[in-house]
Subunit: 229 residues, 2 copies
Amino acid sequence: MSESVFMKVVARLRCDFTDKFGIPRQAGLAEHVTSRVVFEPEFRNPDALRGIEGFSHLWLIWGFDRVRKTGWSPTVRPPRLGGNERVGVFATRSPYRPNPVGLSCVKLVRVERDAPDGPALVVAGADMTDMTPVFDIKPYLPYADSHPDAVGGYTDALPERRLTVDFPASLAARLPEEKYLALLDILSHDPRPSYQHDPGREYGLSYGGFDVRFRVSNGTLRVFDILVL
Amino acid sequence: MSESVFMKVVARLRCDFTDKFGIPRQAGLAEHVTSRVVFEPEFRNPDALRGIEGFSHLWLIWGFDRVRKTGWSPTVRPPRLGGNERVGVFATRSPYRPNPVGLSCVKLVRVERDAPDGPALVVAGADMTDMTPVFDIKPYLPYADSHPDAVGGYTDALPERRLTVDFPASLAARLPEEKYLALLDILSHDPRPSYQHDPGREYGLSYGGFDVRFRVSNGTLRVFDILVL
């Protein structure tokens, strides 16, 4: 057996996604989705965040805590390839990896220094469920981290699939504006599993205490009901 | 106490840096520095790398295994700020953090499928010592990871300090070419601690079995001897 080390949970991400369905497939895709990084009591120290406001983007290193605990497989089927082509796990960002660790670049919206559970970080674009354990927060350093000319393997060849979202105003009115804007982002990225294309099928997406009911056909996602959970 | 999780050592980085002195301050700065990511026996599976050749850059998530084990401090003094200004640990990439985890973007040079200790990844630009434990390898996804307009806090304000390197041909001839090119990169980034500016001082940098002796004055680093270790 290989060696192991301990990793402490430093913070938890608090957000409106209570389950995996609807979470954008990478960080930064849904810019109106905001979350809070709330530190564990042991790490609630405003000094540890001194100077962080100067950075526009942060890295979160976090744990996929909802994956089945059945070990890892050397190959996985990325949704981006339609879910039926196998790729080596280290050539993907799949959660089913030897160490179920995620890496997400998020925008820093603001630092809450005086919150009752603070200091906390408000971030945009996270691709994580509520209560996700966070192991580390690092500043994004454009001179070392940004490589616009990098070649992205099989992800380059595939155009991003976006849906038109038909969200009736009468339903939108039932939501606080920021949740409505977040949902427009989330729904446009097509939350359906990539192997499901049944136009009659009804879906329910849970977000921020609401159950958003929709159908998809011909590239358009139609919201037909919003229920309070 | 906060919760903890286990992280397995998946691979080790093998390179020419036997100690910290001379290691570039971020990944990607010294592009001629090549390293090998050698998997632990449990993870030596060529299938796990299927498709990875399509990516030009990879992320390594790894452990700072040489830091002193005296807990963490909420603030640190980044070398980039001259070593005398304190910044919150989460606003830095310092190794002295609650979880001593590093994040480095490296170039993928090639995949060695038939090496005796293979499959292995040859990468360029790593900022790690020999035998560093690697917890995860992920493809760099330009659409999610590249943010050329990101604001880099205090790191933006400071011009990168580069030295002119005076490396006599007679000394360079004692080195294999790839180590000479790597050393030109490494030395130009000024390996001295930021608080040391004594022009008479002699330094010795250990790289790939050689002890490279140099002095620095007036922005020029002069190599005056190369010893075989």
